[in-house]
């Protein structure tokens, strides 16, 4: 039996590494149950406000900085996500979900503008510019996909004139995040994937992960007295890798059945024989090293990181102390143990490859995973082309604390909820859990539905939220090329109000996105109509054309009519020729 050690929240690791230096990076690895591995990359570059205003960029990427200046953006949050976080097996999300996004692309920003119209115009500028920078379809975030959340987001940075700031939020749940988004992401880093932990980021492995999210957060941070402001850009990549899958070599990725000799059979079964094998679970921790998992080797430290102190501990691994870890490098490295030995950090050598090797090991102790504050699942119920209903099931696992949260839904306009059918039930108490509702109904083709609900769940209870909706019928040009796939509905965002986080980041949980099948016309029909009308047109045209250009003569007017056959034809030809010569 394994005993479990209390787990140290790794957010603690981040907390004290504040604005000490201008560039900071850290990779945190944490083995998760069922041979999964969480890799959490964090990069932070600072630029003082003064030099930012003078367009004097050092660590802050110029390309992004100029866009932010042009669009009057004071704070920016951009997320590219793929897959889903399996909270039941993996526990609490990294960063309390604050660096997580919904499936696809999610963007929210605080823009400085005098009016809402100006803010929206700047928002469009921002989305179009970011679209070009990140090779993503961010320019498709138009008015129908933009909302102005009221309770769900709070600025993380320090803003002086917060009255002129406008928060806009847009999502693209259908966007497929892939390598073309990773390359520009890496280019924003000072070491650009050539050295430091970013040299591990490889598109093949990143996008083969069970869950991954890339985040960019830009916010101004000021000192206590409101001066010495810096603009901080934080880039985060979190991913959960399947160790078995990631270790497969790239040239032979097919999981062929293993030879029977390599499978551990349960020999206690009465039917166990040469040709019959009940496979045994592997209880040992699988062996792995960085090069196998990420498909690349770690090319030493990025020279811009601190030489010593907290900022120098670039690679950290969160395992029970008994786990054997072997560091392989030709250069100099330093190992530090933190948090009663459950976290081991390494200072990377400069200019030499670094690798850590974990052999297969039978563990006697394990780490307790922090339970997430809420479990949320959302699904579409009902069937048919006309109506449906949404059901969100939110569970509070805590036996002691009740949880208060804001639930945000941003629905496309063609999904029309009936607010009178909105029901929230808690299984343990009869009272209505909805404390506050903010609802902005959709306008066809102009804006989507924006629904924010402030709710509370008592301890150890499940809240079920349901509402019915009607599906609109689109114009046939409004359907995408893959109309029969259905339309993606953005994930719901849940922000915890209490117990919240101590910092400004907040605690977030997101549901998965949904696929909404809409009534779809048979697209071969317009084609048939076109063919049919074309035929009719051709027939009509042909007849009228004939009437216009043919000369009709009476049968008795034609001299050669009497003589048929070859003779008649020949004579007709001659007459026609003669007529041509005489007239022309």
């Amino acid at each position: 039996m394994r005993s479990f050690l209390p787990l140290l929240f790794f957010n603690y690791l981040i907390a004290f590494a504040s604005a000490a230096s201008d560039y900071y990076e850290r990779l945190l690895l944490r083995p998760l149950p069922r041979s999964a591995l969480l890799a959490s990359f964090n990069f932070r570059s600072n630029e003082s406000s003064a030099s930012f205003d003078q367009q004097h960029f050092r660590y802050f990427p110029r390309s992004l900085g100029q866009i932010l200046q042009h669009a009057g953006t004071k704070e920016l949050h951009l997320r590219f996500s793929l897959g889903r976080w399996d909270a039941e097996s993996w526990g609490q999300q990294p960063w309390d979900g604050a660096r997580e996004g919904g499936t696809g692309v999610e963007l929210w920003a605080w823009l400085e503008a005098l009016s809402e119209e100006e803010a929206f115009a700047r928002w469009l500028t921002l989305t179009n510019a970011l679209s070009g920078l990140f090779c993503a379809s961010l320019n498709f975030i138009d008015a129908t996909k933009t909302i102005r959340p009221v309770m769900s987001f709070q600025p993380e940075g320090d803003h002086h004139n917060s009255s002129s700031l406008h928060l806009l939020h847009g999502t693209l749940p259908h966007e497929v995040v892939c390598t073309e988004n990773l390359t520009p992401f890496l280019k924003l880093l000072p070491c650009k994937g050539k050295a430091g932990i970013s040299s591990l980021l490889d598109g093949h492995k990143l996008f083969d992960a069970s869950w991954q999210t890339m985040a960019i957060d830009v916010r101004p941070i000021c000192g206590q007295d409101g001066t010495h402001c810096v603009l901080e850009m934080e880039q985060t990549v979190d991913m959960v890798l399947d160790i078995d899958r990631s270790k497969r070599p790239r040239d032979n990725p097919i999981p062929r059945p293993l030879p029977i000799e390599e499978i551990a059979c349960d020999t206690s079964k009465h039917y166990n024989a040469e040709d019959t094998c009940y496979p045994l679970d592997k209880s040992a921790e699988p062996p792995w090293n960085l090069t196998d998992i990420f498909g690349r080797s770690l090319k030493g430290a990025c020279p811009l990181t601190d030489e010593d102190g907290e900022g120098a501990k670039t690679v950290c691994i969160n395992t029970p102390p008994e786990r054997i870890i072997q560091a392989n490098t030709t250069g100099q490295y330093v190992e530090t143990r933190l948090a009663s030995d459950t976290v081991r950090c390494y200072k990377l050598p400069t200019g030499a490859d670094f690798d850590i090797d974990l052999p297969e090991q039978q563990m006697t102790t394990g780490l307790v995973l922090a339970s997430p504050p809420l479990f949320a699942a959302r699904s579409i119920n009902g069937h048919g082309q006309e109506r449906g209903s949404i059901q969100a099931v939110i569970r509070n696992p805590s036996f002691t604390d009740s949880v208060e949260f804001v639930y945000l839904e941003s629905l496309p306009w063609f999904m029309k909820p009936y607010l009178h059918t909105l029901q929230a039930r808690v299984d343990t108490s009869p009272s209505n859990p909805i404390k506050e509702t903010y609802y902005r109904p959709a306008v066809d083709r102009h804006r989507g539905t924006h629904l924010e609900l402030c709710m509370a769940i008592p301890p150890a209870s499940t809240l079920t939220l349901t509402y019915d909706f009607e599906k609109a019928i689109l114009r046939y040009t409004e359907y995408p090329p893959d109309a029969n796939r259905g339309f993606d509905v953005a994930p719901a965002v849940i922000r915890l109000l209490s117990p919240g986080s101590s910092g400004k980041q907040g605690v977030y949980v997101r549901t998965t996105s949904l696929l909404l099948p809409l009534p779809t016309p048979d697209f071969s029909m317009p084609y048939n109509v076109i063919i049919l009308t074309s035929t009719v047109m051709a027939l009509g045209f042909g007849n009228i054309f004939n009437l216009l250009v043919r000369r009709f003569v009476g049968a008795d007017e034609v001299q050669t009519m009497g003589a048929g056959g070859l003779q008649g034809v020949l004579r007709g030809r001659i007459t026609r020729l003669r007529a041509k010569f005489t007239t022309g």
Binding site: S210, D242, P255, C265, Y271, N381, G486
Partner: protein, 640 residues
């Protein structure tokens, strides 16, 4: 203009009323012949895969080697669970799924139908597609017991082995749900109802974990015991509840993979040997039509189809040389194809009749057949309406031969009216100016009442408990057989319906029948066709009341003969109609196929309460009222 005036002159011609029976007969004849020519090469087509994304059989399958050893072990595990309790079985199956790192949940269900208690438990596991975002899912089903109530040993073991094998692949773009249902019909129904949240919480438990929109489902039916059995062919079952069918692309993909890639022959509709002759094709098609017409669940896949989830069952049949691994590879390849789908299956046909694994007719080709049969009722109904508006027959002024009838001769002098219009005066027979009013109350009330009467047997059959079903059936057969004669007797005693009223009763009844059947033909072609064929004699029977004028009688029989043998003819027609009583037809059909009537009724009641079967509604509220109205009209001839 000349044409219009000719037509207008024809309008009053009594000969025009002789035409509809021939026209109706022609419709029926053409309808039946139309169906019979469908199996010919000229009228059917070879199947083809429309959806390019499916790419059937384009992948290598790797389900071999040590997986076979594991499969055998799982088959032993499954065999060990046969005599255990439902709870224990579910627990153990869940443990095996859990050991493959899948999320597992269970679902209890309990239905009551015909006094029986159908209760069992489903266990299912969800494989999260490694890069999927929980928006789409495909389902692999292995029912614990198949339709023949045998334990699906190898089928369930194959689902378990494939779950373990699929988990290793990183290419799944959709979630895969592995469902081991408690039985083959109610279990999947309970699961799919709960998945779409359209269920009554009293009978089934909600699902604790769900995934995205279901894109397809494949069920495996392979009941070979712990020591295996090599099969010969795959029997692809595709009928859904209420005669709904899965997209033809799914069927084609399965056939193309099984026969093209794996070399396993495919068969359908229990045609174990198919030599591709006309007779075999016709037989396959007719079996398919009967199965579709009955609308019953034909396998674990059937419950999925009403939710627009395309589903099929792969059933192993015969003795041959294919083993479980080739079935496993077929499923693997099929899932790889489904995994490729970018959109919900929509390209190919949803309405088709299959006559061989690679030959079909689509709705455009076969629909006219059922429509023509439905139209025959409408034609007769229009003719009856026109006839009911004719008071006394008038001689055609245009006809050259004078009528021999004495009363028309004597009334001739005063039967002319002078009509004047813009200075011209015309003499018109008074009878043709007289207005005949139709008395609608009795016919409408009768038709309404007979349709409501159909609710009684519908209720009784669906709510009687099993031991009394046989008795109920016999009683209702006896009652419905005698009811038309009794009704006709009572009607003639108390209400004395006029000839016009009996004509109108038949007219409305046929009008409704024609309307219902043509609407039904677009939803369930086979049911509409079968009901239409059995109801077609209703077009030709007539009330033989004594005052019937000679011109409107049955055209085949000379008037003198009819008036002489009125009673005996009516009696013959009543007997013919008794044979066509829906209950008698159902009894005859059960005798022909060697089923017991109680079995059929129990299935139907289960269908009504669990699967949402609508066939009974068509029988009791469409077919039966039409038959009843027709029989009452005919029986009226006995008492008039």
């Amino acid at each position: 203009m000349a044409l219009i005036s000719t037509l207008l002159a024809l309008r009053r011609d009594p000969r025009i009323l002789k035409l509809p029976p021939y026209l109706s007969a022609l419709c029926i004849l053409v309808g039946v012949v139309w169906l019979l020519v469908l199996p010919l090469n000229e009228y059917s087509r070879n199947t083809y895969v429309s959806e390019n994304a499916l790419l059937p059989g384009q992948v290598h399958t790797y389900f071999t080697g040590s997986e076979h050893n594991i499969f055998r072990a799982y088959r032993h595990e499954v065999a060990a669970l046969v005599d255990t309790s439902v709870q224990e079985r579910t627990q153990r199956l869940g443990d095996i799924f859990r050991s493959s790192n899948l999320k597992v949940a269970t679902q209890k269900y309990e239905y009551h139908a015909s006094g029986r208690n159908i209760s069992n438990q489903n266990v299912y596991a969800i494989l999260h597609g490694p890069r999927a975002d929980a928006t789409e899912a495909i389902v692999l089903i292995g029912a614990w017991r198949n339709m023949a109530d045998e334990v699906n040993h190898s089928g369930v073991a194959l689902v378990l082995t494939l779950a373990r094998y699929f988990k290793r692949w990183s290419l799944w773009s959709k979630d895969i749900i592995f469902l081991v249902s408690g039985d083959s019909t109610s279990g999947p129904q309970a699961w799919v109802d709960a998945y779409h949240d359209s269920y009554s919480p009293a009978s089934i438990e909600p699902l604790s974990i769900k995934s995205g929109a279901l894109q397809g489902a494949v069920a495996i039916d392979y009941p070979a015991g712990p020591w295996g059995h090599r099969y010969d062919k795959l029997h692809v079952v595709y009928d859904g509840v209420n005669g709904q069918l899965p997209n033809l692309d799914l069927f084609n993909t399965a056939v193309s993979i099984a026969s093209g890639q794996m070399g396993i022959g495919c068969t359908l509709q229990r045609m174990w040997k198919h030599d591709d002759s006309y007779q075999e094709r016709l037989q396959t098609m007719l079996r398919g039509m009967i199965s579709q017409g009955l609308g019953h669940a034909s396998g674990p896949h059937s419950s999925f189809i009403p939710y627009h989830v395309d589903a099929i069952t792969l059933q192993t049949v015969g003795n041959g040389w294919h083993d479980e691994m080739s079935l496993g590879r077929t499923v693997e390849s099929l899932f790889r194809s489904l995994n490729n789908l970018l959109e919900h299956l929509h390209q190919s046909f949803f309405f088709y009749l299959l006559m061989q694994a690679n030959r079909f007719v689509s709705i455009g080709t076969y629909l006219p057949s059922a429509m023509l049969i439905a139209v025959n009722f409408t034609i007769t109904s229009i003719a009856l309406w026109v006839q009911s508006g004719r008071g006394v027959s008038t001689p055609n002024p245009a006809s050259a031969t004078p009528k021999a009838s004495p009363d028309s001769k004597t009334s001739k002098p005063d039967s002319m009216t002078a009509a004047e219009k813009s200075g011209a005066i015309a003499l018109i027979p008074t009878t043709s100016l007289a207005i005949t009013e139709r008395k609608l109350f009795l016919p409408l009330a009768f038709i309404l009442a007979s349709h409501f009467l159909g609710l009684l047997p519908l209720y009784i059959f669906n709510n009687t408990s099993e031991p009394y079903l046989g008795l109920a059936f016999n009683t209702i057969t006896a009652v419905t057989t005698s009811l038309p004669v009794l009704t006709a007797l009572l009607l003639s005693k108390f209400l004395c319906p006029t000839e016009q009223e009996t004509t109108l009763i038949q007219c409305f009844s046929l009008l409704l029948l024609g309307m219902y059947l043509s609407a039904l033909a677009t939803l369930n072609f086979s049911l509409s066709f079968l009901v239409g064929i059995f109801a077609s004699p209703l077009t030709f029977v007539r009330s033989l009341a004594p005052q019937t004028p000679p011109t409107t009688q049955s055209p085949q029989i000379p008037p003198s003969f009819v008036s002489k043998n009125r009673k005996s003819l009516s009696a013959t027609m009543v007997i013919l109609l008794v044979l066509l009583n829906p209950l008698v037809v159902i009894r005859a059909a059960t005798l022909y196929w060697g089923a017991t009537i109680v079995e059929v009724l129990v299935q139907a009641a289960e269908g009504w309460h669990v699967w949402g079967l609508w066939t009974q509604v068509v029988v009791w509220l469409v077919w039966w009222p039409a038959w009843f109205a027709g029989s009452v009209v005919v029986a009226g001839g006995l008492f008039a």
